[in-house]
Symmetry: C2
DNA sequence: TTGTACGCGTTATCAC
DNA sequence: GTGATAACGCGTACAA
């Protein structure tokens, strides 16, 4: 006696079990006040019909779904996959399901508005809360349950997970200095990214700490792509007094540096030391393998989940900014400065 | 927890713009019959209020969401990430959004029922259709738009994407034979996986082709884990007449073989040749780097998306089974048989 | 061109 | 303990 609609509804269950929809709903949600035999009968029917409550309808009415949302800008860059792995690990046995949303439309140019739209999309009932990765929009709906990972803007109004970018950059410079380098080039990250700014500040702080004077000519603009790494390397190495080491704001850019170095006939690390930031998996497959600063992207994803769940359970901590430590990963792309 | 008035609805938009909800809805969906000034005014309000239609409500009503669903069992194993990368690439500029769903609950033990439940979940309005990765359930809702990647069961009733597992296994054996190996061990994949069976059949076909008699003692059970690879290696190599090469049903298992070989003091590839299947990224980081059969997991994901979109546009091809070619990837884990 | 009324599948509220 | 009914936010005939 199924209605014309293909999807079977709670009405079908109720009818088949000979009860009302409200009773069926009660059984579905394991409410207390329902007689054992009724319960059993309805459960049986649910199993037989292989019925599942529509998430759409359920969330529309009840406002709580036991589903967490994750908003990512795209699914190609491995960085996001590392985040997802961390989120996936944290979600295990958490009692929550996970819904990852990404858009295939080029509307992404308007990143900020895209984010706001999709946060609204997920928050408006589909999920209990959501995590946004690398958001550029500084602010969101007031009352949504939101946690942010590696935000672009600085002033966080929502709980944010960030790496210790400043300290990590200092670590990188320290290491290069310990190898004897004094002229250390720096390739900037995306100009709007807070993490990029922090790394630049750390670079300067590291130089200062070593008593090396900052030199603007050794700094190139960038945007986290490998293309900018290549361009910057050509620029830096063709200077009259080129650097003996290059610190790129992220691994992707550092990979570009490696490519350019090869094209220029420079041996890494003998002629040029290169260090990156992020520790994405590909850094283990470059030639030479890239020395970098690990920012445990996975841990950031896991922490994001934990923060969100705390928030949902009203155990929200007063702290807004949560940092994940960075660490130096020494591989093969840095070497002692040639005398 | 969340105040009722928090989410702004189409009513708020209508009220603010001084029109009726239906007019607002028309503007939202870019319907033709609405006066330019009304359109502009409503658009303005929508922007001001930063309004987004609730996916839940919308999908419940309209049955078409421009969203594709992807159902994955978990988010830790890299195999699924490779699929997601392919799906993510195919979704770009497709006009569709993507919604990945996974569950954090241990209910996954009951895989088949979990899948059915969640297919229903996604199909019941949230998405226009969905892709299921490695499903164990042989059958689904009749009229849902479903595409399946690497299914466990053989008899596909829905469009399926599979690798040429049989041919790939033959390629692997061919290669080992060309290196002079005659005693080739095989470690089975998960017993219910169709792909595993196909690889085993290919193994036997390859032996047959080379005129080598099949020997049951050289075959071990397995389940696609690295643990089974280790156990099987101990078993195989402690035989009176051990194999000179081992073909593992997937890379994860082959990695277990590598570990066991090291523990046993066997040098790979000098003492033992090892070949895997899948070509997951980690195979480039093992020592030695693993020779394997590439099954272009990403391409399988992309093809899945293309098939699903075709289906949604009623351009469904008659063909149900779609194969993606495998290819031999020679790295460092296989060598000539010692004389 | 615009507004009214209804239904999508569910849960909460209130009767019984 | 159980059943009827009113929302939830939206799209769409149909009426105006």
């Amino acid at each position: 006696m199924r209605s014309k609609q293909s999807t079977i509804t709670i009405h079908d269950v109720a009818k088949a079990a000979g009860v009302s929809v409200s009773t069926a709903s009660r059984v579905l949600n394991n409410k207390a006040d329902v007689s054992p035999e009724t319960y059993k009968k309805v459960r049986q029917v649910i199993d037989d019909l292989n019925y599942t409550a529509s998430l759409a309808a359920k969330s529309m009415r009840s406002r709580t779904t036991n589903v967490l949302g994750l908003l990512v800008p795209e699914l190609i860059e491995v960085y996001y996959h590392e985040v997802i792995k961390g989120v996936g690990a944290a979600i295990e046995n958490s009692g929550y399901d996970l819904l990852i949303y990404t858009s295939g439309s080029p509307t992404r140019n308007k990143r900020a508005s895209w984010e706001r739209e999709h946060v609204a999309l997920l928050s408006s009932g589909l999920t209990d809360g959501c995590i946004i990765v690398s958001p550029s929009a500084p602010t969101f709906q007031q009352n949504a349950n939101i946690v942010v990972i590696d935000p672009h803007g600085a002033g966080a109004e929502v709980p944010s997970v960030v790496a210790t970018n400043h300290e990590g950059a200092i670590q990188a410079v320290d290491y290069l200095v310990s190898l004897g380098h004094r002229r250390i080039g720096f390739i900037q990250g995306h100009p709007t990214a807070w993490s990029a700014l922090q790394r630049f500040e750390g670079y300067k702080a590291g130089l200062d700490k070593a008593g090396i004077e900052f030199e603007a000519a050794l700094v190139c603009d960038g945007d986290f792509t490998s293309a900018c790494g290549k361009a910057a390397t050509y620029h830096l190495m063709n200077q009259p007094n080129p650097p003996s080491a290059i610190f790129a704001a992220n691994d992707r850019t550092a990979i570009g540096v490696l490519e350019a170095a090869q094209e220029l006939g420079l041996n890494v690390p003998q002629d040029l030391s290169v260090i990156g930031f992020d520790n994405i998996p590909e850094t283990m497959q470059t030639t030479p393998r890239l020395t970098t600063i690990d920012q445990s992207i996975r841990e950031m994803g896991s922490l994001g989940v934990r923060l969100l769940i705390e928030m949902l359970q009203n155990r929200e901590s007063a702290q807004l900014l949560h940092t994940v430590p960075t660490s130096l990963v020494i591989r093969d792309s840095c070497w002692m400065r040639k005398q």
